[in-house]
């Protein structure tokens, strides 16, 4: 059996990845503290409950990323000849599914509270001999839960684009978009203080819708990756032009008459095949080896492209029916 060669990041990308790992550790600690603070102030508010669940789930992407980073130096072996890069995609899929399901659960829960006209209870708490309204503590906790992720999200996005990491990138986009749900929860608590019983459950429902959509978006990304969809740049929704660039690179080689390339995404890296029609068979294997080296060095995200010489591009290798 032929096992793939291990993938090594270029030195500058390795440094960028080191920064991203440190950033994700900070992110994990900050998120963990937010989860704790919200838990301590949650009470029986639906908006707080929804925010809390959202924050608990926001722990999953950094954990998935950091666990995947543990395995990134593991070389492909006989059991897994294509390597372990896709572990991160599986982690990504799991967080997407849990986000989607939890959003649905929270939505049903919030709407049922609205329908039953349940009145939210936010009482007082006695701290150092003074009894204060819990709502004020909840607001403070929500502000704490909203602003740090916004700032972290900005840095995460930049760092994730640098090393083409989907898990962190979608996490960053979510954290940046979550200030709206934070605001919804704050409005919900302020509304309860005004004596509007529906404000809390309504805010909870809005947050639940947001969580569900986040899950759906991540789910589409993860399924796309696992289905070997055309690669996309992390920052863009459009397919990457890399395949076309590789084709024109091949066509410019003197021994190549025609060429087609197909690529797939494997976690952080791309792999694929190039079908080449040689203009002559002279030194064919030497030419192919040189071209393969050139293709694999073209972009740092390319892990392995296999070159296949074919008599013409219409030829199919599938068994005849």
């Amino acid at each position: 059996m032929r096992v793939r060669q291990g993938y090594r990041l270029p030195a500058d990308k390795e440094r960028a990845l080191g920064r991203l790992i440190r950033l994700e550790w900070i992110n994990l600690w900050v998120r963990g503290s937010i989860v704790l603070v919200l838990f301590l102030t949650m009470g029986s508010s639906q908006a707080m409950k929804a925010s809390w669940y959202e924050d608990v789930l926001s722990l999953l992407p950094p954990i998935a990323f950091l666990v995947a980073m543990r395995f990134r130096h593991r070389e492909p072996d006989v059991e897994y000849p294509y390597g372990y890069q896709r572990a991160s995609v599986i982690a990504f899929l799991v967080s997407a599914v849990s986000l989607f399901l939890l959003g649905g659960y929270l939505l049903v829960d919030s709407v049922s509270k609205l329908v039953m006209a349940e009145h939210p209870i936010i009482g007082g708490i006695t701290l150092f001999g003074h009894t204060v309204w819990m709502g004020w503590l909840m607001l403070a906790a929500l502000i704490y839960g909203t602003i740090p992720p916004l700032i972290l999200g900005y840095y995460q996005e930049k760092a994730a684009i640098a090393v083409h990491d989907k898990t962190v990138f979608s996490d960053a986009k979510m954290s940046k978009a979550n200030w709206l749900t934070g605001l919804a929860a704050i409005a919900g608590i302020l509304g309860v203080g005004m004596g509007w019983w529906w404000a809390d459950a309504l805010a909870g429902a809005l947050i639940a819708v947001d969580v569900t959509f986040d899950g759906l978006k991540m789910l589409r990304e993860a399924v796309g990756d696992l289905m070997d969809r055309r690669p996309r740049f992390t920052a863009k929704a459009r397919p990457s032009p890399l395949g076309g660039e590789l084709e024109s690179l091949l066509r410019r080689m003197p021994w190549v008459a025609a060429a087609q390339v197909r690529l797939r995404e494997e976690g952080h890296v791309f792999g694929g095949e190039a079908f080449v029609v040689p203009s002559s068979d002279d030194n064919l294997t030497g030419n192919i080896a040189a071209a393969a080296r050139q293709l694999n060095a073209y972009d740092w995200r390319i892990h392995e492209i296999v070159i296949m010489p074919v008599p013409d591009l219409e030829q199919s290798f599938a068994p005849r029916p």
Binding site: E118, I121, G124, T131, W133, L190
Partner: protein
């Protein structure tokens, strides 16, 4: 940038709401219970549970004293309604009564049904020893008298003690499981073990958050709960004697 303007707009709006809120009472009740009670009538549900709520010609007990004091502060007249918890809790949910007292202790089940204040008093239930008797280092194999109806049976078994149930009055001179204030009032020495902790609360209609905050302030600010307990349990002893 349009997005920036929207954010600024939101912040200004939120600030305006806050300032408005600071102007009037905040938080407010959904059904204005606090406003209605002030200078009006306070409907209180009662379940008998000595020494917290004592049934008599006039209601008595620690919690009744505290409620009377609250009503005086609010300039309200109290109407008492005796009943079972199973009647009074639905009545509370429907806001037929404004407050329910009856030596209630905090429980997840109760928290699901109604609004509870934060516990204003904790009772440590332990094993007491008669004056003169030595307190053993552990409860392993110790015979402890408990009432027929009790919550400490499992906790006693975990400590290795042998629970002996009594029907009417506790056998004199034997180790006895009860709340520490009860043990002290009856001349027992409480042991160091905590079998269970009862967290005492009163219940209110859900969603009446201004009323909840007012009642909670009143109960947590009461500095003389221990003194009231001593007075009530002392009274009980006189009944027995």
């Amino acid at each position: 940038m349009a997005g920036g303007r929207v954010v600024t707009g939101w912040c200004v709006g939120a600030l305006a709401v806050l300032l408005l809120a600071a102007g009037c009472r905040y938080p407010r009740d959904v059904e204005q219970t606090l406003q209605r009670v002030q200078g009006g009538v306070l409907d209180v549900g009662l379940t008998e549970n000595e020494p917290w709520v004592v049934r008599g010609a006039e209601p008595g007990g620690v919690e009744v004293v505290l409620v009377r004091r609250l009503a005086r502060q609010l300039n309200a007249r109290v109407r008492w309604h005796w009943g079972a918890e199973s009647e009074l809790i639905p009545a509370l949910r429907d806001r037929q009564i404004d407050l329910l007292v009856g030596g209630l202790v905090e429980s997840p089940w109760l928290m699901d049904q109604v609004a509870l204040i934060k516990p204003y008093q904790e009772s440590r239930v332990t094993v007491g020893f008669a004056a003169g008797a030595a307190v053993p280092p552990s409860l392993e194999g110790v015979r402890v008298a408990v009432p027929v109806i009790n919550k400490v049976f499992l906790a006693l078994r975990d400590e290795g003690a042998i629970a002996r149930r009594y029907a009417d009055r506790p056998p004199t001179g034997e180790p006895l499981a009860a709340a520490d204030w009860w043990l002290r009032a009856h001349g027992y020495r409480p042991g160091p073990w905590t079998l269970i902790t009862d967290k005492h609360v009163v219940a209110l209609p859900p969603g009446e958050n201004a009323w909840l905050l007012r009642v909670q302030k009143h109960f947590s600010d009461a500095a003389d709960v221990d003194a009231l307990l001593r007075a009530e349990t002392g009274g009980e002893r006189r009944h027995e004697g």
